[in-house]
Amino acid sequence: MTAGSAYSAAGVLPLRRDAGSRYGPWIVAAALFVVTLALAATMAIRNAEQGWRTALAGKISVQVPAPSGTGGEAVAEIVALLRATPAIADAEPVDPVVVRSLLEPWLGAGAEMEALPLPALIDVRLRPDAGMDIVALEVALDAAVPGTRIDDHGIRLAYVLRFALALQVFGVVVAAIFGLIATMTAIFATRAGLSSHREEIGILQAIGAGDGYIARQFVAHSANFSIKGGIVGCALAAGALILLGRYAPGGNAFMVPEMTLSPIQWIVLACLPPVATVIAMATARVTAMRALSRVI
């Protein structure tokens, strides 16, 4: 130690030399790695959920069975009936080529789908808040062209949204648990420091150091290892997310929704190390002040 540091604001208690302090940054790094990934997954699922809502909300599909549908007249009749319904904003037959392409993943590119009795599909967009009676509509369509069925996306969407919500709750819980682990690290480091440096603390108190002065030693120590661990953990998580992003199938992939993060969400993740540091500092202060207050 040089004379130059003798009068600086450097820590009076040698907390960084404590055996437990060596592992503090790594525990925080591991915890922040998991917290970052969990929150990123939660946000990505939320983004996908909103995409699903936007894409499918207010839409239904109508299937006209093959024998009638292939002729085209039945489809035209159903489309006319749909367009005449006040609660329906628009009804458009789906190009048979598109219908066949939807089946391609199951049947293969070389399948002779022209020979299959595929139903005709009609995309229907409902008017918002029109109060559409799907059952009554299906009865009317079936009467016009027997076998015509309505596929209400809302029912399947509800299942998907419920699962997405469960995943988000799970992500938040995982993030909270590992955030708690990072916080506990500050508590254990502070308690260990208070115990192993009892003699030095007694000397400081004897020469007029208040609880706040002593607590600041632990606050500074917690800030030091939290910011280091937090940056390492978040950087590793960001690297993992970028790597995962390269292997992600993207928006055209079948059955897999596109899950990306907005710039604001990346900023939120980047704020995790300073937020974790502030929490660790507050935790260290409260822990130290409470422990010191028990001494006469």
């Binding site: 540091s5 003798a6 108190q205 020469i207």
Partner: protein, 254 residues
């Protein structure tokens, strides 16, 4: 030899007003016991004036350390009143103690140096706690350590210092912020006779610039070489006080 003129203001306006007192210490019928054990101090009454020098003597276990710990606010009396700087501190809350402790310097037999800090860093601690600026700290610490003869040991860790040097570092730390009261608990216990004499002379120099000194030792032969008021504790009672100028209170009048 010029004494460093360090004085860091760590007192409030109200406390500054109180520093106009003449009695640094006033004990009124003070008794102390640890838990449910026997009383280690019994009905001790004592008054010490500002800028006075007192020896506190008596055999081991007489209660000297307990009395000094009371004065340093490390203990609370079981009965009686302890007044420091004209303020009743008998039941003082812990948040008010640090400010008062900064007006009191302490030197003990164990030195109480922080082992990983250099001599200069140890001496600088009271000023750092008082939030003095780095330049002021550097200047005063260097000057004071030179004054106590440790100009070359500024950057030495305590383990590299002799017992006498450690004691001088402890004294320098105790007086760096110019305390109003200096409590020395058996400070000569771990040093040879020459070092002990030098230490007392050093404290007399500090006393001349206004610091009241209470010097506790069981070595009555050492005490007899100086003409300062002497209080004798035995079995927790103040059994004798030599009536020398600078002491007031019932024992002085006895």
């Amino acid at each position: 030899m010029r004494r460093p003129v360090v004085r860091i203001s760590t007192v409030t306006m109200a406390e500054a007003f109180l520093t106009a007192e003449t009695g640094v210490v006033r004990l009124e019928d003070v008794s102390l016991q640890y838990g449910s054990g026997p009383e280690v101090l019994r009905d001790v009454s004592l008054s010490l004036e500002t800028g006075s020098f007192h020896f506190l003597t008596g055999p081991s276990g007489a209660g000297k350390t307990s009395l000094l710990r009371l004065l340093h606010l490390a203990l609370r009396p079981t009965r009686g009143t302890v007044r420091l700087f004209d303020r009743d501190v008998s039941r003082l809350g812990r948040k008010h103690r640090p400010a008062l402790r900064r007006r009191i310097g302490v030197v003990s037999q164990e030195f109480g140096l922080i082992s990983h800090l250099t001599a200069a860093e140890n001496v600088a601690l009271p000023l750092r706690i008082a939030k003095a600026n780095a330049g002021e700290i550097r200047e005063n610490v260097t000057e004071l350590l030179r004054w106590v003869g440790l100009g070359r040991e500024l950057d030495e860790l305590p383990e590299a210092l002799s017992e006498g040097q450690k004691q001088r570092v402890a004294v320098a730390r105790a007086v760096i912020a110019r305390p109003d009261l200096l409590l020395a608990d058996e400070p000569t216990g771990n040093v040879d006779e020459n070092a002990a004499m030098r230490l007392i002379h050093l404290m007399e120099e500090l006393n001349k610039v206004g610091t009241a000194v209470v010097f506790a030792t069981h070595d009555e032969s050492l005490v007899s070489r100086f003409g300062h008021p002497t209080h004798v504790l035995d079995g927790g009672e103040l059994v004798r006080a030599d009536p020398v100028e600078g002491m007031i209170g019932e024992h002085a009048e006895a």
